[in-house]
Each structure stands twice: as structure tokens, then as C-alpha cells.
Symmetry: C2
Subunit: 253 residues, 2 copies
């Protein structure tokens, strides 16, 4: 926990560097061992968990802010980042960093301001990320999506909204690339979809549909070592993948 002096310093510096009243919160999804994970921060000397977040430098495009924040938390650059919603209830930041609430006069304390937060969700390869806590938190760790701790502020709402958006986007955008390692098997990819959608899919129909999109390349060599029939390895055909991203999957009308 920061001392009064440190808080004052942080606040002064924040006011000098960042746009006031605006924050960014990131819902970072990862996929590991058949589980969808979210990156969460655990506050020092407090029970609360938070989404990784930060602020926008006075002259910085917000996409770069989100990128910068994520790089600080994961070490990753060029992450798949998708802005999905702004949360603007005046009450939402009421309980922001409660322990710092009365440590400074309101006008000086950055954390007593009202904040609109821009929600981004990110899809990252679990294995590549190296979670790093920020100065307010003791821990930055992956948590299973179906075993979440209680989240502070409106971060539970932000997370739910991100997940809903992700599920919706799955219908008209190819998602897998950012969550899967370079090479993977069809059952592994299917597991990702089943995990995101939280339902079982038919193995054969899934394969047919996925291949139908034309964004997968089958490698010559199957994955060896398992105790069963060796599955083929696939990777994304980046060219077609990008095209599919911009065009969208399903026509609709």
C-alpha cells in the first residue's frame, strides 16, 4: 500500500501526464489446458481483485494506451485488442481504491475523481504472457473464468460484457489465431470454442465448418507422443485469416 507521500506523488504525476476522468480496463483472455483464463490483479493489503487497467497519456491514441497497459502487464506487444464498450456511470468509480480515499484532499487525490473507463478485451497466447503486477497490486495472475474471485468496482460487469462480446464475435469473426499456439490440433481448437461458448460441439461438424472457412493449413506431420491416434497439426493461414477478419464470416442478408 502506498504511503501518503507516494500517493501524492502518484496523483501529481498522473494529473500532469494523463487525461483526467478517463481510464482503460482490459479483459485479457488466455486459454490453457482446456480452460479460459482471465488476467486479474490482486490489491496489496486488500481483498479486492481488479482488471488490469491504466490511463491515457495526454497526447496518446487510446489504442496505444491499451497496448502500453497490456505490455506492462503481460510483456506482450502487438496483441489482439478490441475496444468493446465505455462504462460511464458516475457511481462506478465511487469505491475506487477505497483505502486511498481519505488520505488526501479530493482535489489532489487522483483516485477520487470520476472515471469513464474504456473497455478493451484482448486475446493472448497463455504461454507467451508473463504476468507482472503493477505498483498497486501484489499479484497479477491468470484466474479460471469459471472460478472467479469477487471483483471490485464494476469490473464484474466489464468482464461479463467482454465475454458476451467475444461470444458474439465468434459468430462472424475467426477468433482462434490469437488464443492458440502456432500449431495445434483440431480437437484443441474445438476445445477453445467449446470453452468460450460453454457448450459441447460436434467433432465432425466442427471440423467441416472450420475447414470450410479456408483459414487453416494442415501440416504434413501429425503430433506424436500421445497414447492415441496422432492428430494432425494445423496452423492458421494468415493471408486468408486476415481477409476473413475484415470481411466477416457470415453474410446474414
Amino acid at each position: 500500500m502506498l504511503t501518503e507521500k507516494e500517493l501524492k506523488e502518484y496523483s501529481d504525476n498522473a494529473r500532469a501526464s494523463y487525461l483526467p476522468h478517463i481510464s482503460i480496463d482490459c479483459v485479457v483472455f488466455g486459454f490453457h489446458e482446456g480452460m479460459l483464463k482471465v488476467l486479474l490483479l490482486h490489491m496489496k493489503n486488500e481483498n479486492g481483485w481488479y482488471l488490469p487497467g491504466g490511463f491515457v497519456l495526454k497526447d496518446e491514441p487510446i489504442e496505444l494506451s491499451a497496448n502500453r497497459i497490456l505490455k506492462e502487464r503481460t510483456g506482450l506487444d502487438e496483441i489482439f485488442l478490441q475496444q468493446f464498450h465505455v462504462f460511464g456511470d458516475p457511481q462506478r468509480s465511487k469505491d475506487h481504491f477505497e483505502m486511498y480515499k481519505d488520505m488526501l484532499p479530493r482535489a489532489e487525490n487522483w483516485f477520487t475523481d470520476r472515471f469513464l473507463t474504456i473497455g478493451y478485451y484482448a486475446l493472448v497466447d497463455f504461454c507467451d504472457a508473463i504476468p507482472q503486477p503493477d505498483i498497486f497490486s501484489a499479484d497479477c495472475i491468470w484466474r479460471d473464468l469459471d472460478d472467479l474471485p469477487e471483483l471490485k468496482l464494476d469490473h464484474a460487469l466489464i468482464l461479463k460484457t467482454a465475454l458476451d462480446t467475444l461470444r458474439l464475435q465468434l459468430n462472424y469473426q475467426p477468433i482462434g489465431y490469437n488464443l492458440m499456439p502456432k500449431e495445434f490440433t483440431m480437437p484443441e481448437l474445438q476445445k477453445l470454442y467449446e470453452t468460450i461458448l460453454d457448450k459441447k460441439l460436434d467433432r465432425r461438424n466442427f471440423q467441416r465448418r472450420m475447414l470450410g472457412f479456408g483459414i487453416l493449413k494442415r501440416s504434413e506431420k501429425p503430433r506424436k507422443g500421445g497414447a492415441h491416434k496422432a492428430p494432425y497439426l494445423y496452423s492458421f493461414d494468415l493471408e486468408n485469416y486476415q481477409a476473413a477478419l475484415t470481411e466477416g464470416f457470415k453474410g446474414g442478408w
Copy 2:
């Protein structure tokens, strides 16, 4: 155009009332005589056209801000409003109200600040709206979507993004209710869809699909007066419509 004194007053008042660096821009769609329309403002003493916009009161939820702004511009309340994107390039507001640029010192002039703008799009019944200019504009009028004037700032981008979002949402949300009058014929509704999507649809298939959604009620009496066979009148079945809104149209996976 405002005098220096008026600008100073506006700026002082804005700084006292609104969250700094945050604005809201609205893309208001209407539908009339087979054309999709957008509400635009024409600046006093300037060639520029702008989207209707405004700012967020210091203690106001942003949804209410958007509502308030739209009510001021259209007289309408309880509008279908959808937040769709935040535009956060530091350069985007560089040319904001150029004519007021050098009239006041930067620190005093509200319009030289950097603004992130939250984009909302609205669907309104063309006939109900009563366009009202704001104090900066000489005109507030409906413009045909396919005959747009040049837009200032990044408002062309905002409009395009809104339109793309609208087209996408058409695939998994029932849209018509907010753009159509209470009663309408199937060909009229089809025209709306064709206009939004900018392509011809098959009459019979459109009807089948629409009715299949189960959100339309057919009135007993057809519309009389036309020089041709009298078409049936339909209205939306609000209960089913609301259900469809929350559930979404198409399963996807």
C-alpha cells in the same frame, strides 16, 4: 458565430459543467421516402457540416448525456440509442471549431482541448423528429445518406463506423421498430432493409423470413388509396420484439 465574449462565457461554463476531454457524437438515422437519412448540423459562417454532439455533465451517466443531446436536437425522448465506438486519436479534434481557435488563450478555450468522443447511433422515426440547430449551427437538417456533404473533423469516419455497425447488427437484431412508423406495409419494411444494406432483396423470401421471426402483427385492414393492390398493414409485436432484442436472432454456433 460567437463573439469572443460569448466564447469565453461558453468555455467557462463548459469547464464548470462538463467532464473535460470527453464528448459525445450522435449518428441519427431516419428513414423517409425510401431513403436513409442522417441528421447533420451546418455551422454558422463556415462550410463545415458536423454530427450532432455534446458533452457529459460532471455527474451524468453517459447514456443520459446522449439522450439529452438527442432530445435537444430532435425533440425526441426515449430514442433507440446504441453506443458503438470511442474515437480517441489525439489529432482528431485538431480542427475543432477552427474559427474559435485563436480567439482565446488555449487554457481558456474549451475547443482547443483534446477530446475523446463516444459515438452513439440512434434510430428514429423521421416524421416524429423536429430538428433543432444548436447555438453554433445555422441549420440542423436531414441529409440523404448517399448525398452527404463534406464532414468536418473525423465525422465522416464516425458516420461510416456507425453505418457498418448498423449493417452488422441487422444480422442479429431486429432493427425496424425504431425506424418505421407504427404501421407499415411489408414492401415498406423491405425498402428499409434494402436501403440500409444497399442491395435488393427478394420480395417473397424477405416476407417469409420476416414473418418467421414472429415479431410482426398483421392488421385486419389493408392500406387503401394507392393506385394498386392494397397491401396489408403490419406493426411490431412489442413483446416478441423485446424478447428477440435480448436473445438475438441467429444462433451462429
